[in-house]
Amino acid sequence: MNLPDQTLAHLREVVAQPDLSNTPYEMVDFIGRGGMGAVYRVRDTRLDRHVALKVIDASPLAEARLLAQLEHPGIVPVYDAGTLADGRSYCAMRLVDGVRLDVFLLDEHTLSERLSLFEKICEAVAFAHNCGVIHRDLKPQNVMVGAFGEVVVLDWGVAMWKETETGNIAGTPKWMAPEQAAGGAVDPRTDIFALGLLLSEILGCSAPKPLAAIANKASSAEPEQRYASVELLLAELRRYQDRLRVFAYRESLGEKAVRFAARNSVLLLLLATYVAVRILLFFL
């Protein structure tokens, strides 16, 4: 049988579609495909709402069970999980209304908006780490930015419990820490590596030097050189925002003076006013 290209394309599409016959869901459309499976927009006929249905042909329910442990505003919540009539597993999740981070970054945003976004990602990842979960596939495509600036970290398909032995290499090569790419042991610092790259991406090429230094430290090749936890990375970012010294960056005397002036601008202004008044009084 010589299948024409058009028929082959149609067959591939219909055969890949999940068989929803034993579920309460109705197909609406295809959203996208990741490393571990495909995601569809479906209608939950019981509650009459749209949800994201992830169809996975890997370990059944692992992602759903893991996600169920992570209740955080920055982590996509799981509603339901099960097995389809065609034998594949599915996981129904909240349909996040928004744009992917890589698309969001194409528009102009202020530095403080960008930093606030990154902080929200860090908070979600820090929460997961504190629950004992490592994401292992952090990248702009796995972060959604909502209409009100809310941030949701998606795709926990290759996430794992901290104490689990890996052996398998999972993730996206461009965003993988060296130890992850080599199939070595992973820990929270593996996600910190990806967060460092993510920070560079979020800041763009015009990043202030101290922030670029934070991103570089987070994405150091050696895990020991990185921040030991996401909280430490966040603390360093907040030091920058509070105009305090950033430990990852060695500043010059001039930069120190500028930072001091910016941090104490009110005090300096009062001092200058006082001196000006005194001089004025002296001459009167």
Binding site: M1, N2, L3, T7, R12, D57, D86
Partner: protein
């Protein structure tokens, strides 16, 4: 799949390989059958495009290549960790055609210098040779799964399901709608949709079986199925 069907699917030139396979210690006739069914056409088309060989010569080269796979026990040297089996097979094919060309030119020149073989990596209208190999692999897999489905329906008295599937999913021109199919087969529309869902589910299962027949390891099988359908 019964052997009668295989004989129908394959031209007689390939029988000798299968016979050789059955007497070979490393690979069984059944596995060789599966391999030939899936990879004959991709290899053949690949040689046509990449090495610009005439049809007959391309057929001979594919025949020789599969014979060499058996004789040199190349399949046992495949390492799952180094990439998909398809890529390994294509690399072996490249090596085989180039070596064959070297041997031929040496013979013609009485053992003298060999002439480099022209290869064409550039994309044609249909894509690069690699893309053509990949697409032909998909086409082979689906064609075989359709044959499997046809046979399954025949054996289990579900010919109507196959007819509905063929009329709708294999339509080359205009696709009939569900109402037309229901009327043509005197069935309710819901039965038509159920039959189609069943056929597609079975197609997927049969595709997975086909992939499993020539794929070592569970993770490799999953990866190949994902590639077939993505």
């Amino acid at each position: 799949m019964p052997f009668e069907l295989l004989w129908r699917v394959f031209p007689s030139t390939r029988h000798s390989l299968i016979e050789a396979a059955s007497s070979h210690a490393g690979i069984g006739a059944e596995a060789m059958n599966a391999l030939l069914e899936i990879y004959w056409q991709p290899c053949y088309r690949y040689i046509l495009v990449r090495f610009l060989r005439p049809h007959e010569q391309a057929e001979d080269l594919v025949q020789g290549f599969f014979a060499a796979l058996l004789e040199q026990d190349l399949l046992s040297r495949y390492d799952v960790g180094k990439g998909p089996f398809r890529s390994y097979l294509r690399a072996c094919l490249d090596h085989f055609v180039l070596k064959n060309h070297r041997d031929e030119t040496r013979e013609k020149r009485g053992g003298g210098k060999t002439v480099a073989l022209d290869t064409h990596d550039a994309a044609s209208e249909d894509g690069t040779p690699e893309e053509i190999f990949y697409r032909e692999w998909q086409r082979s897999m689906f064609s075989l799964a359709i044959e499997d489905l046809r046979q399954l329906c025949q054996e289990t008295g579900r010919q109507v399901r196959f007819e509905i599937f063929a009329a709708y999913d294999l339509a080359e021109q205009s696709r009939p709608n569900y109402d037309q199919l229901a009327e043509a087969h005197s069935l309710a529309v819901t039965t038509v949709t159920n039959h189609l869902a069943w056929a597609r589910r079975e197609m997927r299962r049969l595709l997975e079986l086909r992939v499993a027949s020539v794929t070592p390891g569970e993770s490799e099988r999953r990866r190949e199925v994902r590639l077939l359908l993505s």
